[in-house]
């Protein structure tokens, strides 16, 4: 791909982010400005900011890649990301704002009057935040590598530096402007090329076989396999091979592969004929955002689909960068209306990635083999339109992708830095917040350099599952159930969130291998969420003496409309 336009586009996004952030710096004065923009952000600006923050690398690149490789079942991801906001609106939005807390640990402390629960919630916030930051940095590295061939760590380093600088300099206020700006940038960066791509598809005679299973090559195509993969063939396939297949070297030889699994060594060139089905790579052999635990879906697709639905529907409310945004609404009613606007904005955005996924199945099906399926969004303009127009549209998409990394990463950094400043560092205040920002970014950056290669979808899925099994019970029961006790909340978070964490960690380490146990561990939400709720309820009922004294007054504060709180008495 021609990078002479893409690199300036990425640079422009980075510079614009810094400039918009600096604009915020001039009016960011007090500690309250830093954390919650002094609670004066109106619904429309706030909704664009929330959406801009939420649409991450996984949304911008990952969904199209997943759809390309695995078909329409993967569309449950964007549906779940959106519906998560509806569930958040129903049970959490207005009471959370009225609780008047800055962060999730603040909420835990306000509701349960317990330092221990506060610290535990803080630990979960930092853990989930770091898990979610890691894929953003790696996605940035991948994008820059695809565009320019730069080393993998460079993109992550750029994102880390820019985000740390903007967050530390301006805090939440400037972030609100930056995020709102980046929502519209991301929408434009996907919408405009999508229009041209659909026109090109029309001009091509509007082929429709993309909707069929499996994807097929629509012209003869040479594919160079970058990493060694195991290909699963359901039917015999004839290809021309230069390289090593199943351990035997071939040189430009016509080869008939029987049905079954074949190992293709890195560097091999395969030439497929028109109409050949695209072989599916086996699980775990290729990196990138689009290969994931999702591949194990074939073993138990229905269970996996419901696990995915539950994790995304209930996990959204506990993501640290999502929750912190609700404190910036001026009151509970505004928090609700903001959430409706967010639903409309992200729902509108998610109409676009499937278009790229479908077109990717038509025009870049070989990406499923090379392990670069996430690059589909970046490569399609060049492939379908080409020339100067293709380069310019490709540059626009690349800029949008970087906006995605920057915005989600800054939201997460903001949330993690807030917790570190308030609960870990010795004293509060703006200077320590800047120190906390550095700390919040250094750990995932080091991890991304050291560990590398953790698939984005896995880390994102893990974050959702952990959040759904720890914070969702804490928030829902904390807001609606007066008999919740500090021991109940602590044990419930540990059992629910901890077991989800261990399950997915075990899957990533490859412990269970395959079979039903594997599916259970790879998609923990279906059992870990009920487990978290049940533990929290049972332990609370077993410790009735520990219900905090001020519970009734606090619940009144959560639920009473603001106009009735003129003479509110704080317990």
């Amino acid at each position: 791909m021609n990078s002479s336009y893409a690199v300036p586009a990425v640079a422009l996004v980075v510079v614009a982010t810094v400039l918009v952030g600096a604009f915020g710096l001039r009016i960011s004065r007090t500690t309250s400005d830093f954390y919650v923009a002094s609670r004066t952000v109106g619904p429309r600006l706030n909704a664009a900011a929330i959406s801009g923050e939420y649409l991450s690398a996984a949304s911008f690149l990952g969904i199209a890649g997943l759809v390309l490789v695995q078909g329409p079942d993967m569309l449950w991801y964007p549906v779940g990301y959106t519906a998560g906001y509806l569930v958040l609106l129903l049970f959490v939005a207005a009471p959370l704002r009225r609780s008047g807390a800055y962060t999730l640990p603040d909420f835990a402390e306000a509701r349960l009057a317990s330092q221990a629960v506060r610290r535990l919630a803080g630990a979960f916030v930092v853990g989930v935040g770091w898990l979610y930051l890691l894929p953003q940095l790696q996605g940035a590295g991948l994008t820059l590598t695809v565009l320019t061939g730069a080393p993998e760590t460079l993109g992550g380093l750029i994102v880390a530096v820019v985000v740390t600088a903007t967050v530390a300099a301006g805090g939440m206020r400037s972030i609100t402007f930056v995020q709102a700006f980046q929502y519209w940038l991301k929408l434009t960066a996907l919408l405009v090329p999508a229009l041209f791509l659909v026109l090109a598809w029309q001009g091509d005679g509007a082929p429709r076989h993309a909707f069929e299973e499996p994807a097929a090559f629509r012209e003869q195509r040479l594919v160079r396999v970058q990493d060694t993969v195991d290909l699963k063939l359901e039917r015999p396939l004839t290809v021309t091979v230069s390289g090593t297949v199943d351990g035997r070297p071939h040189d430009d030889a016509r080869l008939e592969l029987p049905a079954g699994t074949h190992r293709v060594t890195a560097g091999t060139r395969l030439t497929f004929d028109r109409g050949d089905p695209v072989p599916v790579p086996d699980r775990g052999t290729s990196g990138g955002m689009s290969t994931s635990l999702a591949a194990s879906r074939e073993e138990r697709p229905l269970y996996a689909t419901y696990g995915l639905i539950l994790a995304t529907f209930l996990g959204t409310m506990g993501l640290p960068h999502v929750v912190v945004r609700f404190y910036t609404s001026p009151h509970g009613v505004a928090a609700r209306r903001t959430t409706v606007a967010v639903l409309a904005l992200i729902g509108g955005f998610y109409l676009l990635p499937p278009v790229y996924g479908v077109l990717g199945r038509l025009y870049t099906p070989e990406l499923a083999l090379t392990g670069d399926a996430d690059a589909a969004v970046l490569l399609l303009p060049d492939r379908m339109i080409g020339g100067l127009g293709g380069d310019l549209l490709g540059a626009l998409v690349a800029g949008g992708a970087f906006a995605a990394f920057l915005s989600t990463a800054s939201g997460l950094t903001m949330a993690v830095a807030g917790v570190l400043t308030q609960d870990v560092l010795p004293s509060r205040g703006v200077r320590h917040f800047r120190l906390g920002t550095g700390l919040a970014m250094v750990v995932p950056l080091a991890a991304s350099v050291l560990v590398g290669g953790l698939p984005v979808a896995d880390a994102v899925g893990l974050a959702f599952a952990v959040s759904a099994s720890s914070f969702c019970p804490l928030l829902v029961l904390g807001i609606w159930w007066r008999r919740l006790t500090p021991p109940g909340a602590a044990v419930g978070m540990l059992v629910g969130g901890g077991s989800a964490f261990l399950a997915v960690a075990a899957t990533m380490a490859g412990v269970p291998g395959s079979g039903p146990l594997h599916s259970l561990l790879a998609w923990p939400a279906l059992w870990s969420v009920p487990l978290g709720f049940l533990t929290m309820i049972l332990v609370s009922l077993a410790t009735p003496g520990r219900v905090p004294a001020g519970t009734a007054a606090i619940l009144a504060r959560f639920h009473l409309p603001e106009e009735l709180r003129a003479a509110e008495v704080k317990a």
Binding site: W76, T82, L90, F91, A344, L555, L560
Partner: protein, 120 residues
């Protein structure tokens, strides 16, 4: 006080003004809530119950809308086009409509509650 540390400063302690109940026995639910009497808590509870009922209703509709879909898609694998259309485009508008419906109900519940306790 016999001795006072010079570094200790005098502070003025303030609090919200105490509300006195109307002498006439005139009934004000608003005061009950402010003073956190048992009756006041009953009012808050009733608001919570109404709001929770609204939330659960919309949640149930969401579950009925989304829950059967994976089963339908699994039962009819030939209906690929349907799956593409529903998951790719069809679900977002209903989600937004459900959200608007809930917000309207929740705000109406709150207005009714304010009218009740302000005794208007």
């Amino acid at each position: 006080m016999p001795h006072q540390d010079p570094t200790e400063r005098r502070v003025v302690v303030t609090g919200p003004p105490r509300r006195t109940r109307h002498a006439s026995g005139y009934y004000r639910p608003r005061t009950e809530i402010d003073e956190q009497t048992t009756l006041g808590h009953t009012y808050v509870r009733s608001l919570m119950r109404t709001q929770l009922r609204s939330a659960l209703t919309v949640f149930a509709v969401l579950g009925l809308l989304v829950g059967p879909l994976p089963l339908v898609f699994a039962a009819a694998p030939e209906a690929r086009r349907l799956e593409w259309a529903v998951l790719g485009f069809g679900l977002y508008a209903p989600l937004v409509l459900l959200a608007r419906w809930y917000v309207r109900r929740a705000e109406r519940n709150e207005r009714d509650f304010v009218r009740l306790v302000e005794d208007r």
